[in-house]
Symmetry: C2
Subunit: 112 residues, 2 copies
Amino acid sequence: MNSYTRPNDMTWTAAEKKLARRIFEKAFESECATIVAEVKRMIANAKAPSDIWRVHDYLSEQREAVDRIYDYRYSVLIRVFARLLRDGWLTEADFAGLGQEKIDRIKLVATL
Amino acid sequence: MNSYTRPNDMTWTAAEKKLARRIFEKAFESECATIVAEVKRMIANAKAPSDIWRVHDYLSEQREAVDRIYDYRYSVLIRVFARLLRDGWLTEADFAGLGQEKIDRIKLVATL
């Protein structure tokens, strides 16, 4: 036994859960906004109406990726936040209010 | 035996095939243009970026419907054109240049 706390053993206080949900939603909406911008760009640059099916292909791919990443279970949330931090959808400032141990863990996992 | 020609027994001349392809593409692009307009409307009226997934659902449904209808095999083309005529994607004028027997058959099937 040692003092190491595995990410999925971390407990989340009610306040942290509320904040975590907000952080999660913020990243999700940011990522969706980027997808919306790309869809608009694709539609604006379309040569024919049937190019809309390329938009559908693009959305199918993005949805699969987004569904894979955005998993709101506390057992995986540190890893999810680490991924979103690494990919630039969140910054360290977004985590203010979470326990320091969680923030440190998120930053550590983001570097792995 | 009688003189009735079943739609999938009709022969298509080279000129008719060329025209049929143009008619088919015209209806397809018209239908896609309507879908594009609806997508633009949905994006303009979206309350949150994540509403983009409703656009994806809509496109998935439409693609399934469009794929089902737009079947360019000569054995089913009369029925496809009849359907597109009935649904307003084509008008009788679009068929000018096809043999009269085919036009009559398309109009008949459209009423069934």
